[in-house]
Amino acid sequence: MSNIKLDRRRFLKLSSASVFGAGLVLAIRWQALPADDKKILKNTSQFQPNIWLKIGTDGRVTVFVVESEMGQGSSSLMPMILAEELEVAWDDIAIQRAPLKPAFGYQATGGSSSIRKGWATLRSAGAMARQMLVQAAAQQWSVDPSGCYAQHSQVIHKQTGKQLSFAQLAELAATLPIPENVSLKSPNEYKILGTSVPRLDIPGKVDGSAQFGIDVRLPDMLFATTVHCPVIGGKAKKINDSKAKQIVGVEGVYKIENAVAVVAKDTWTAMQAAKALEIEWDEGKNKNLSSQQIQQQLETAAKNHAQVKHQQGDINSPGAVKTINARYDMPFQAHVPMEPMNCTALINDQGCQVWAPTQSPSKAKSTAEQYGLSKFNYYLEKISRRLDFSERDAVDVHTTLLGGGFGRRIHQDYVAEAVQIARQLNQPVNLTWSREEDIQHDFYHPHTFHVMQGSVDANGKPHSWWHRIAAVGRAGSGQLPYAIPNSKIDLASVDIAVPIGPWRSVKHHYYAFAQETFFDELAALGKQDPLQLRLELLTDPRLKKVLQLAADKAQWGRPLAEGHFLGLAVHKSFGTYVAEAVEIALDDKGEVNVIRVVVAVDCGIVINKDTLIAQMESSVVFGLSAALKSPITLKDGRVQQNNFYDYPILKMSEMPRVDVFIVKNNESPQGIGEPAVPPLAPALANAIFAATGSAVSGLPFV
């Protein structure tokens, strides 16, 4: 146990009315457990010591979750942290999406940050409630609270063995003062953390009841789709909608800021009408943009000016015996979450309501304010009744489940569109993009170009290392983890009109690829074993440990089956250390089959073991799609890919065996949603290098 003083601002005893007042006009089936929902809605008097939880007199503990659930598991992991300190049985936990109230802070889910951000707060929130429940029991029994403890939703008196349940204690606990200090458990006392308790969102995901943004259905709802200029940044000049409007069921065609919207009685009709629109586009200044041209711009930028990010020693200092150069080209990638972009909006005399599968409810709200209220002041013009839209609560965002995010849903372009369409209507509208629009109007993982130069000394050990990164948008890098006497990393950011955004693991994907792929080339130049050389040069013991674990589990150095080869890579990102060993088989035609991926991970304290494993598996597949499948390319200012037939993702028969091994320790818990993406492509590249003897030139490997 450790004692900590509570941050009063974070744990202010907020009355239910101030935080949970109006706002929740239409509750979303976020956790699809109908029977439990009824329990939550049952108006039992409740113990709510802080904004993160409430305990009903039925014993149900409702945890408020601010993170968006997009498959990464936060909606169960965050409650696990609280439940551990509260000593509540996992079966008693229910989750509810936190309302968009300032008390919960800025709501955005990304950067594998949920656990890191919520860890301290949720532990304290649970511990506070537990202490008050223990206090309540002690008071009831007229004993000293130090003689009581909580376990499995009960408070127990050690001496007599008497028990009172949280349900029985909730009412009394609610009358007690908030404690000044709380004591937190130490990791060796954990009962829930580190186990694989079942996720709360899964039952609704096997019977069709889980509600994603695209599934929101409201009375009198209309359906819409939008089309965007195929040329990046272009706008509609002239719209001929006469054919579209002849289609039965079409309700209207509207020009909005960056698109043309069709509203109809169903999505299909809207999409058919969108195809029947005759739009003359002002293609703007990007109509000649092409991948080739971007490639040239990046190469030129890499030759010219760059900002030095890291420098140690002098890369030109004497001592180099052999030198090697490499260039890696990494293309644009799209996110393609399985649920296409969508958003539902309603503007009426109650204000503006938005239902969105968004990674950032707070940004969705400000976007809706911008487009639904202040910018157009639409309702003030249109209705006679005076409405005070300066009241920020006039806009509310209901966050649904997300059918994948991967960074795409940090952006709120679909929210802006839905709200603009809703301004034209008196009823709710569900906007859904076609897959084609989703692929062609993404915020892409940037195209990057890497120039590498390295040398080895007379002993074959690395003497110098130079990594220059040119990227569309702002170039980024990680940290060189190897003790190489002379090293330099510099960056060239190139301003190109292609929209760029965070894509699972962001800069680490391209940075780690170049670093770890080049490391094997440099090792080969000095005739060194890439594992041994890494272990020799890595300075961080945790990186060494995961690397050694992955190598051991993959049995590095063992005789492999004919045509089989192994490659390794290691990288730290989002606080977590991951090493991967990829085993490939080359067939007669020289085609690469990925047989097995060994993942070794150190993310500090493990919250949910099974979810950690699932995120490692998921990241491997995400990395494989980028490494093996066709990328996003541009021609004549247009993204050339349309749908899964020309922007394919990994499919079942291509799935390798993935084995995950976890380093156990009591370091503070770190991100798990992204860190296993970066090592995948370089480990695969190194397996291909081992197989062919010739280095790869970038992604994809096909």
């Binding site: 096997v206 259905r217 169903d266 999505t267 299909w268 399985m338 994948g404 597949v621 079942m652």
Partner: protein, 172 residues
């Protein structure tokens, strides 16, 4: 099932409104829809059966998989009118209380992540096991290649098919 609608077909003006009855999850629904409106959108937007998902619209991702007389079919490219009089089963009708072996296996192995594709996965597996009680690894791979998962739950799905097959045998 080659019901892919092409734009050229649309531009010939083949479209007309039709009235027909669909039998979905054992219940009859009177439908009025364009003759080329895919079953997917009748389910989702007309009948609010939103468990069946839209992923690509061109029959490449399998998120919209339903059963028509027990056969797995991608509902995004199948005109609803073409299945009048047939027995249509969606994820909502696979079992009354989520107790189908595939659903139980999916919970047991904690397969879904974002979950968006999982209706399609589950319906495809349920149909496969109906026809083949002991699918081989390659039969599983070939069948499941139809249904994409961006979260990458494939390894668990493979295991899930085997577990569901075992559970089905125990049920029988």
């Amino acid at each position: 099932m080659g019901w892919i609608l092409t734009e050229s077909r649309l531009s010939t003006g083949a479209k007309y409104m039709a009235q027909f009855t669909l039998r979905i999850n054992g219940k009859e629904h009177r439908i009025e829809a364009a003759n080329d409106m895919p079953l997917l959108w009748v389910l989702r937007d007309t009948l609010n059966l939103t468990g069946t998902k839209f992923g690509c619209g061109v029959g490449t991702c399998g998120a919209c998989m339903v059963h028509v007389d027990g056969e797995p079919v991608q509902s995004c490219t199948l005109p609803a009118i073409a299945v009048k009089g047939k027995n249509i089963t969606t994820i909502e009708g696979l079992s009354a209380d989520s107790t189908h072996a595939v659903q139980r296996a999916w919970v047991a192995l904690q397969i879904p992540q974002c979950g968006y594709c999982q209706s399609g996965q589950i319906m495809t597996v349920a149909a496969l096991l109906e026809q083949n009680q002991n699918p081989s690894e390659s039969e599983i791979d070939t069948t499941m290649n139809q249904v994409l998962c961006r979260c990458g739950t494939y390894q668990r799905i493979r295991d899930g098919v085997q577990l569901a097959a075992k559970m089905l045998k125990e049920d029988r």
